[in-house]
Amino acid sequence: MKRTCDRCQNPATHHSVEIIKGQKIEKHLCDACAAEEGYAPAAAHTPVNELLNNFIKSHSGAPTKKDLTCEVCGLSYTQFREKSLLGCPQCYSAFESMIDPLLERAHEGGSHHLGKVPRRAGAGEQRQAQLLHMRKRLSEAVSREDYELAARLRDDINQLETDLSSSSS
C-alpha cells in the first residue's frame, strides 16, 4: 500500500513510529514536510563505506589528510607531496595509510620488504624511534637555550647508543 503524506498529497517517503505515553503515533511525511517538521533528510545516496569512513574519522579523532603531520620531524603530508622527500624514518608510520598506495604504484605493486634483513633488525627498530624522539627534544632544548636539559638528553642518547653498539658485538 502506498501512503500519501499526512500533511499534503505527495507520496510519503519518511515513516516513523513513536511511542508517547503508551500511545503509538505513526507519521508518514514527504521529504519537504519531513524537513519542515525537523526530521533530517534521509541520506539515501551516500555510499555505505563513505558513511563508515566519516563515522570512523569523527570518532577516532584522526586528523584529515590536509593536516596530517609527523610528530617527530614536523613534516606535513602536503610538504612531503611538494618535495617527494620524507623527513625522518618515523614518517613512514605517520603517513602509512597515504604512502602505501603510492608505494604500490611506484614499485609494481610491491608493498612489503622481501630483501635483505640487517643483523640487528627488530631490536633496533624501537630504539631507533626512541633516539629520534630524544634528538628532537635535544634540538628543541638547544634552541630554547635550556642547556641543562640538553646535557641530560645528550647523556641519555650516548647511553642508549652505547647499549646499542655493545649489544651487537
Binding site: 617527530v72 620531524c73 613534516l75 618535495k83 617527494s84 622527500l85 620524507l86 623527513g87 625522518c88 624514518p89 613512514y92 608510520s93 604512502i99 603510492l102 608505494l103 611506484a106 614499485h107 609494481e108 605493486g109 610491491g110 608493498s111 612489503h112 620488504h113 622481501l114 630483501g115 635483505k116 634483513v117 640487517p118 643483523r119 640487528r120 633488525a121 627488530g122 633496533g124 627498530e125 630504539r127 631507533q128 626512541q130 633516539l131 629520534l132 634528538r135 634540538s139 638547544v142 647508543e161 646499542l164 653498539s165 651487537s168 658485538s169
Partner: protein
C-alpha cells in the same frame, strides 16, 4: 688538489674490459642507507648533519674498508674538483652542488671501484662501479661493504618497509642496479625507440650517460631498475642480468651486423668522417666530441678501423669533459678556450698533431 695522480687516466670502469664490453661500458650497483635515530638529511639540523658526517667518516676511514681509501670533504673542495668527481661518476650532480648548509663528503677507493657518499639525499649512498658486464661481481662487492658498515652503523629499517630512505621510490632494498650501454647501431637504424619503449614497459629507467636529464649524447645510455620494494636483491639483479641486458646487447650486436652487411659504405663513412674530424679539428664542442667518439668506438669494436685503440677512446670520453680538460691544462678556462683545448687534446691522443 684532488686527483693529481689520476688526472689523465680513467677509473677502472672505463678500462674497456669485462664481458660484452663492446656494448656494456660499465655496471653499477648502489645502495641507499640511513642511520637510524636521525632525521633524513633534508630535515636534519646542521648540527645533526655534522654528527652524521663525522660518524660515517670516522667509521669508513678506520674500518676494514679503509685500505687505500681517500676521504674527500666536499664543502672544502673547489667547484672544478667537484665537477671532476661528477664526470668520473664518483659523486652525483646533487652531491657536487655548492651548499654550505650540508657538510658532505665522499670516500673513494684507489681504483675508484667503490665510493660512499655521505649526506647526499640519504645519509649514505654506496656504489660499486665496474667495467663491462659485471653486475654479479658488483653486487657481491657492495653486499660485503654493506655488511662491513652494518657492523657498527645502525641503519634505519622497518620490518614492513625494509631499509628506510628519504624518497619512497628507494625504500625496501634501497638498491639501484644499472648498466651504461653504447648503442650506436640501434641509434643509426632508428630502433633505439623500441628499446626505450620496451624498457619503460619493464619499469626501467633510461637516461643519457652524459648530460643527465637531457638527450643521450653520443649514443651512451644508462638503464636502471626502478622497483626497490617487494622484490629481493637477487631477484632485482637477476631480472636485469639474465633478461634485460643480454636482450639489449644481442639486439645492438644484430643491428651492428646488419649495418656491416647491408650498408657497409654508409657505416664506414660515419666511422671515417668521425676519425677525420677528431684528428683535424681545431675547435670542438663536448657534444660533437661525444657523437664522433661514439662512431669511432663502433668502428674500432667492429674492426673496421685499426688506427685507434678502444681503450684510448674510452678514456677520451672522460678526458674531453669540461672539468677534466681544465685539470689537465691546469687552468680555469671559459667554454671557448675549452673547445680549443679539447681539439688539441684529441689530436695529441689520437696521434696526429
Amino acid at each position: 688538489m684532488i686527483g693529481s695522480d689520476s688526472i689523465d687516466h680513467a677509473g677502472e670502469w672505463l678500462r674497456g674490459t669485462g664481458p660484452d664490453s663492446d656494448v656494456v661500458i660499465s655496471s653499477r650497483v648502489r645502495l641507499a642507507r640511513n642511520l637510524g635515530g636521525f632525521p633524513f638529511v633534508n630535515r636534519a639540523t646542521k648540527r645533526q648533519r655534522s654528527a652524521i658526517l663525522e660518524r660515517c667518516r670516522e667509521f669508513v676511514t678506520s674500518s676494514r674498508l679503509a685500505d687505500g681509501v681517500k676521504w674527500i670533504e666536499l664543502t672544502e673542495s673547489t667547484p672544478i674538483d667537484r665537477q671532476w668527481l661528477v664526470e668520473r661518476h664518483v659523486i652525483s650532480r646533487q652531491h657536487a652542488q655548492d651548499n654550505r648548509e650540508t657538510p658532505r663528503g665522499v670516500a673513494i677507493d684507489a681504483d675508484e671501484t667503490f665510493a660512499i657518499m655521505v649526506n647526499e639525499e640519504d645519509h649514505l649512498r654506496i656504489q660499486v662501479l665496474r667495467s663491462g658486464m659485471q653486475l654479479g661481481e658488483a653486487f657481491n662487492h657492495i653486499n660485503r661493504i654493506d655488511d662491513e658498515l652494518e657492523e657498527r652503523l645502525d641503519f634505519a629499517y622497518s620490518r614492513k618497509y625494509g631499509y628506510l630512505t628519504a624518497c619512497p621510490t628507494n625504500v625496501g632494498t634501497g638498491i639501484r642496479v644499472s648498466v651504461m650501454l653504447h648503442l650506436p647501431a640501434l641509434k643509426l637504424t632508428g630502433e633505439i625507440d623500441k628499446v626505450r619503449r620496451a624498457a619503460r614497459d619493464m619499469h626501467l629507467a633510461v637516461r643519457g650517460m652524459f648530460g643527465e636529464g637531457s638527450e643521450a649524447l653520443g649514443d651512451f645510455y644508462q638503464i636502471s631498475n626502478q622497483t626497490t620494494l617487494g622484490k629481493s636483491e637477487p631477484e632485482i639483479l637477476s631480472d636485469f642480468q639474465h633478461t634485460v641486458v643480454p636482450q639489449i646487447v644481442a639486439y645492438e650486436k644484430q643491428a651492428r651486423q646488419a649495418l656491416a652487411t647491408h650498408r657497409p659504405a654508409h657505416l664506414d663513412d660515419k666511422i671515417w668522417r668521425a676519425w677525420a674530424i677528431l684528428t683535424h679539428a681545431r675547435v670542438i664542442s663536448a657534444e660533437e666530441t661525444l657523437a664522433l667518439l661514439s662512431h669511432l668506438r663502433l668502428g674500432a669494436n667492429l674492426g673496421r678501423i685499426d688506427t685507434v685503440d678502444v681503450r684510448v677512446l674510452n678514456e677520451l670520453l672522460l678526458l674531453t669533459q669540461p672539468a677534466h680538460l681544465q685539470k689537465i691544462v691546469g687552468a680555469e678556462m671559459d667554454p671557448q678556450q675549452r673547445r680549443q683545448a679539447r681539439a688539441d687534446l684529441l689530436r695529441r691522443r689520437l696521434g696526429t698533431r
